[in-house]
């Protein structure tokens, strides 16, 4: 018995072995259905996701759309120099950073809080209902959301926010919320929470189901109150998920979005509502300065990569979960 196995294992050695390349092509031929099912999409992804990377070169050129690829004038880093000297770019960077920090902090705190509140609910039907309703705003477009938000914030009859605040005697007369620049970051932060806080609880609620129930029982027997159980059992149980999401979000921190800023921005709040994406759109598409807009885009990507890798290596050094 033992003999026959070893012979079977050795027999390929005995035959003249096809070389690696030939074996590869032979397998490829044999698996041609799988090849036909995947390779066209690899070509697709190459064209639509990798080819545009070549477009980064135009940030180092004085790009003129009417000239061919190889007829462009190379200008080195002068686009970047112009960018960093541009006052509006500095302002746009300030807005982007402010929006990013607000989004990150507010997003994490509210989603974790809501997940904990839902987790503490004992009425299952009520819990399910609240969950379903809280997902709702995630499924509407920013166009619809911006419509709803600007209606709610308006100074005329439909502006529920002004109405409630006046009813509570917090303000004397209606405020034009979207007409005052320095309210914009706050309005944006709250709008983003309104739209996605429910959706963002999904992953935390899933992580909470992984916490061993005996930990809660032990804490209860030791006389821990509800708050203490949340602080000592639930929150530590969420730590790995929070750290992974934090690293992923740090890599995307400058992706502050484009739609809410564009849709709720106007002439009166432009100094606070214009972020990097809008800068790129304005210079690139509206004014046709493709080179400068691409340079701004590259700047964003480089910063994102630096942040992603440093967050990851900090997590590694602290002995925490990490992305890669």
């Amino acid at each position: 018995m033992r003999n026959s196995i070893s012979v079977a294992a050795q027999s390929p050695e005995a035959l003249p072995r096809p070389s690696g390349v030939r074996r590869f092509f032979k397998l490829l031929l044999k698996q041609r259905t799988l090849v036909f099912m995947s390779v066209p999409f690899v070509i697709w992804i190459f064209v639509f996701k990798y080819l545009p990377l070549w477009g980064w070169t135009i940030a180092f050129q004085h790009y003129r759309p009417n000239l061919g690829l190889f007829e462009q004038e190379w200008v080195g880093l002068s686009q970047f120099k112009f960018l960093f000297a541009d006052e509006s770019f500095i302002r746009v960077m300030r807005n982007t950073l402010a929006m990013a920090v607000i989004k990150l902090v507010l997003g994490f705190v509210t989603a974790i809080t809501l997940a904990i509140l839902l987790n503490e609910l004992r009425m299952i039907v009520f819990k399910r209902t609240v969950q379903t309703i809280s997902y709702l705003p995630h499924f509407i477009s920013w166009v619809v959301a911006a419509n709803i938000i600007s209606t709610a914030l308006s100074i005329d009859n439909d502006g529920i926010v002004n109405k409630v605040l006046m009813w509570l005697h917090l303000i004397d007369k209606p405020i034009m919320w979207l007409g005052v620049g320095h309210y914009f970051w706050g309005i944006l932060g709250i709008s983003e929470v309104w739209k996605d806080v429910g959706w963002n609880t999904i992953v935390y609620l899933a992580a909470m189901t992984m916490i061993d129930p005996s930990q809660y029982e032990a804490a209860e027997i030791d006389g821990a109150s509800r708050f203490q159980r949340i602080l000592r059992v639930t929150l530590p149980g969420l730590k790995p998920v929070v750290i992974i999401l934090l690293i992923m979000n740090l890599g995307n921190i400058l992706e502050t979005g484009f739609e809410p800023q564009y849709l709720m921005g106007n002439g009166m709040n432009a100094d606070y509502s214009e972020n990097l994406e809008i800068f790129v759109l304005k210079y690139g598409i509206s004014m046709g300065n493709f080179s400068l807009a691409t340079a701004a885009g590259i700047f964003k990507t480089v910063i994102s990569f630096v942040l992603l890798f440093s967050a990851n290596s900090i997590a590694k050094r602290m002995g925490e979960e990490r992305l890669f």
Partner: protein, 308 residues
């Protein structure tokens, strides 16, 4: 003093516990109100007679019920056509994306596939690489996709996140089922179509929902590539233009121009009620669908979120 003794048999709740529960329920009720009120209010305004809405004071239900706004919106040729394009891109985009993502996901779930690693890396890398707005725009321009319906479909055929959700699901299928299909002489494609696709319905439903929502809600690609082609406008883009009009122009001029634009409709409409009506039309399909798929997308988010 018998009551406490009785309660021990149920579950002991201290006064602090009860206070916590009460505050918790109140907070969550507050969240529900803040989430739902804007929709309910918009619905009420859209179902209220436009003329009457000017007086204000409509909160939870219409005061002077009327279908007038809806009749007006659907008689408007632009909006009707835009709705049609929205439906088309949602249906075609979803079918194409689900099939293509599932197909590639299946190939990279086959351990014996020689190109498995190559294909996986090619796709996963794009999660971190992005050419950016301008290079993408130039590519679309050079491919002559500007001014075409296919610019809504082709650039987004496969989302990497969606593919990972499906792959994780296929990898969890019992290997024996695929094995028996192969023993019965089914080829890879047949196995995929007849066995893998039907068994992966939960994952496909998740991806279909994500794609459908994305397609239905998109307006930026219309704005960027097809703003010069009225025939390819979508519902969201039309709503966006109304919002932009009302932002830049708080007076009635542009809006009433729209409201009275050569329409033999006897109904009187106002920009506010048209906007409310369009908001409902643009969000209702997704609002009606997602609760039924909740079980699937919650699972999909957890799968993709953890492994992706």
């Amino acid at each position: 003093m018998q009551a406490p003794v009785k309660k021990v048999y149920k579950r002991f709740r201290s006064p602090g516990d009860r206070l916590f529960d009460t505050i918790n329920v109140l907070l969550l009720l507050g969240l529900t109100v803040v989430t739902l009120y804007p929709f309910v209010n918009t619905l009420a305004v859209s179902l209220n007679d436009a003329n009457d809405s000017i007086r204000g004071g409509i909160y939870l239900w219409p005061r002077d019920f009327s279908w007038g706004n809806y009749k007006y919106v659907f008689k408007e040729a632009t909006i009707f056509h835009a709705t049609l394009i929205s439906v088309l891109r949602t249906v075609i985009g979803t079918v194409v994306t689900v099939l293509a993502s599932a197909m590639v996901a299946y190939t990279i779930s086959r351990p014996e596939f020689v190109l498995r690693k190559f294909v996986t890396v090619m796709f996963v890398l794009t999660m971190y690489l992005n050419g950016g707005l301008i290079p993408n725009y130039l590519l679309i321009r050079d491919l002559h996709l500007i001014g075409s319906f296919w610019v809504y479909i082709v650039p987004g055929i496969i989302g990497v996140f969606n593919m990972i959700v499906i792959r994780s699901f296929i990898e969890g299928l019992p290997e024996g089922i695929l094995e028996s299909a192969r023993i019965d002489g089914a080829g890879e494609f047949r196995t995929f179509m007849r066995i893998v696709l039907p068994l992966s319905m939960p994952a496909l439903a998740t991806v279909a929902l994500f794609t459908g929502v994305y397609q239905w809600n998109s307006w930026f690609d219309v704005f960027l590539y097809n703003s010069q082609v009225p025939d390819l406008s979508t519902l969201q883009y039309e709503l966006m233009r109304m919002l932009a009009n009302s932002n830049s122009n708080s007076s009635m001029t542009s809006a009433s121009a729209f409201a009275n634009s050569g329409n033999d409709n006897a109904n009187y409409v106002t920009p506010t009620s048209i906007r409310a009506t369009m908001t409902i039309v643009a969000s209702l399909p997704m609002i009606l669908v997602y609760p039924f798929l909740q079980k699937y997308f919650v699972k999909g988010m957890t799968l993709g979120g953890v492994k992706g």
